[in-house]
Symmetry: C2
Subunit: 446 residues, 2 copies
């Protein structure tokens, strides 16, 4: 069954990729209309989920995230689909054009990846978001959302399916919802038909998916972000940035987990004020033994419980809470070395007013985001101006950092000739030489 | 041991990525000089390999490929290193620049992938080639060449190691040679330190590597290329192209393996002349039963042995010999459908004078290369004007088709601010709106 589902998605993808931007964007408008018309029944399904969540003892904060009826959440979810529709078409862009010889032209053209398997959390609006991104980028998608919103997802998927089937040129198999973890496992072996897996969720989920598939996985397991406070840091900036990066949303993957402080600052009033600003915001600092033993008296007395001894493993650890591991380093190079050994290649920042040290850090750190004098929390597709994101990648290939539409496309080569054969050219047995003249890609419409 | 080797490469990569283009290119010049100076001892090692190959009963054609002393092969190998050095720097290019807010600028910057594990064939010049591509693109590489050239590889690797160590800023661990398959297996589990595996070799080799690693693999197992002869084909072009694509180098991954012929041509003189041109070039056509049973008498009598019945599996098969599978299809859409189901996403071509059918084919076929009126044999980094290639990718993400320097780089995001925190902005708890103003990337030097 998983094979048939994947095969159907694959076949739908081969149709979807041939549709124009107008046809894809029009389908998104129709989906929006369909969802708006079905608002009542979707909110009814959503109520069922909320009731079950309440009975299941979910926290009120989580239940609030599931609730589609609050404020204008439903309508802004629908408007979000239009926002994606209005984005520039990511497909059929010519990114290289080269005359290989007279009448033999090479074009590199953007195209969809193919079939995506996307596993996401329980926020109901995410299914609309991801559906929009997938169709806009010409990719078929198999979707699995968190079980807490199952009824809502099912109601929305039915609407999407019906709209695609009756009102658009997008095959309805381009968007398919599955509802169990077992189905995910069965799909992870369909590497012949599924081209990319995008898991959004806990570290365990992402790790277990990476361990169980040959399909490329886009995303991140950990977000172990570090901030290095340089010898030449503006301490007021440092404090604001560190507190923001730690406390703005501690459960976020872009929250800071490790604080590296230049040796020359340690034991200075600056150091004390950084630790104090963390403590006064309720953050527990996990200090390496040398820092803990020399903790200034003023801090010890005021916030004793918020200073604990760091274990070595704390520097490989994503707390996702109001905790931070703190360690001194000798200089910017040592900070870069620590980060390249310990970080999860998500986002790391330096605080300094010294350009040379900033450059060493920006060039040296091997992460998807490397920041100078700003909070790691900026690592986000909306903040980067991508409209939205399918996830944040800590991979080393294809797409890194927050992934918007561009991360869902790749390219292929078109070669257009009028009868050319390799046997006529040098290297193929003939005498003709290649011209290899680059053409201006602007204005080329294939 | 494998872990230490991979760790060393990883550490070397973190240094290499910070070097300037001048430093990387200068290292290549020094390697070239070193190899030229060591020419005698390398050719001596090469003689050993040739002797062993001869004793081992290798064919004279293969032995010829191992011989570095013939003509100007050694010198042109060395010059090839300079050619790569002269290519445009693929690193530190700003491909997106955006003002998120006043004084908060986002830059997307190209960077190396990290550590490559490259497994390649026995041609001795390939090690020079790959070393040049790796260093130029700022990647560390662990190299394993075919065992038939082991002595040559070792002699060259020693020179490269010594030159890097004594005359350049590139750490010598950036290029490491391993010599056994066991070492490859041990390295395939080092996904913490190795970022990309590039296997060049037999289908079995590539498949076995893909099956045994979590590291992304760039390359292709099969090259099942098809040519579709449309109803509106120029038959003279078709014949030249098909014969070239099949016979120019039948062992090449870009040689054609499947011929799809429009129904309306089958049984016409055009069809007969296509089959005859294949047969007269010694190609065995594997015809589906309906074509075989209706084979024109003139062909049957003249070339009977060169027409055999096709099995279904022939259409999933890479012959790598003077064989081709032939099948009629009803129209261009059926051809696209067949190719998307059967091809290995390498390179497929249409022969037609009809623009509409060409477009349906170019947009519909889901392969790395989709060609119109030219030979599939053009799928090659040199012919595309990339200077050289590390391989041909049939992946759906990162890099497709012939992969040159660009396929060995990815990107990261730099964000440069002066104290900005997320808490001040909309969505993070504050009121400030983002500007999201795109800046012209031209002229930006970070």
């Amino acid at each position: 069954m998983a094979e048939q589902l994947a095969k159907d998605a694959h076949f739908a993808a081969t149709i979807l990729k041939t549709l124009s931007d107008t046809e894809r964007s029009d389908a998104l408008s129709k989906i929006r209309e369909g969802l708006l018309q079905a608002k009542d029944s979707i909110l009814e399904a959503n109520k069922q989920d909320l009731l079950l969540a309440d009975q299941g003892g979910l926290s009120s904060a989580l239940i609030k995230r599931l609730d589609l009826s609050k404020n204008d959440k439903f309508d802004s979810m629908c408007d979000g689909i239009l926002d994606v529709a209005k984005l520039e078409d990511p497909l059929n862009k010519v990114t290289l054009a080269r005359e290989l010889d007279e009448g033999l032209n090479l074009y590199r053209v953007t195209c969809p990846v193919g079939v995506l398997l996307i596993i996401f959390e329980s926020r109901p609006e995410v299914i609309a978001n991801i559906t929009a991104l997938a169709i806009k980028s010409g990719n078929a998608a198999i979707l699995k959302g968190g079980k807490e919103s199952l009824h809502t997802f099912k109601a929305m998927a039915e609407v999407i399916d019906h709209v695609l089937d009756t009102k658009t040129r997008v095959p309805s198999n381009a968007i398919q919802l599955i509802s169990t973890r077992g189905e995910v496992s069965d799909l992870l072996v369909q590497d012949r038909y599924i081209d990319l897996v995008i898991p959004r969720g806990s570290n365990q989920l992402v790790r277990s998916i990476k361990d169980n598939t040959k399909i490329p996985v886009l995303g991140h397991a950990d977000g172990i972000c570090s901030i290095y406070v340089d010898e030449f840091a503006d301490i007021e900036k440092a404090k604001r940035i560190i507190v923001d990066a730690k406390t703005n949303y501690p459960a976020g993957c872009n929250a800071v987990e490790t604080l590296l402080i230049n040796d020359k600052i340690v034991h200075s009033p600056s150091y004390v004020s950084i630790l104090e600003s963390l403590a006064s915001n309720g953050v527990t600092s996990h200090l390496v033994p040398e820092l803990l033993s020399s903790l200034p008296k003023v801090l010890k007395e005021k916030y004793e419980k918020l200073f604990v001894e760091a274990k070595e493993s704390d520097f490989h650890h994503e707390f996702l809470s109001l905790d931070i591991a703190v360690k001194p380093v000798s200089d910017v190079k040592a900070a870069v070395g620590h980060i390249n050994r310990h970080s999860s290649k998500h986002t790391d920042a330096i605080i300094t007013e010294n350009d040379d040290n900033a450059k060493i850090f920006l060039n040296g750190v091997d992460s998807s985001g490397v920041y100078w004098n700003c909070s790691t929390r900026f690592a986000d597709g909306f903040r980067y101006g991508f409209g939205t994101e399918v996830g944040i990648s800590t991979n080393k290939i294809h797409a890194r950092g927050p992934v918007g539409l561009e991360g869902l496309v790749c390219y292929y080569y078109q070669l257009r000739g009028n009868g050319q054969i390799v046997g006529d050219y040098q290297g193929g047995g003939g005498k003709r030489a290649f011209i290899h003249k680059d053409l201006d890609v602007k204005g080329i419409v294939l």
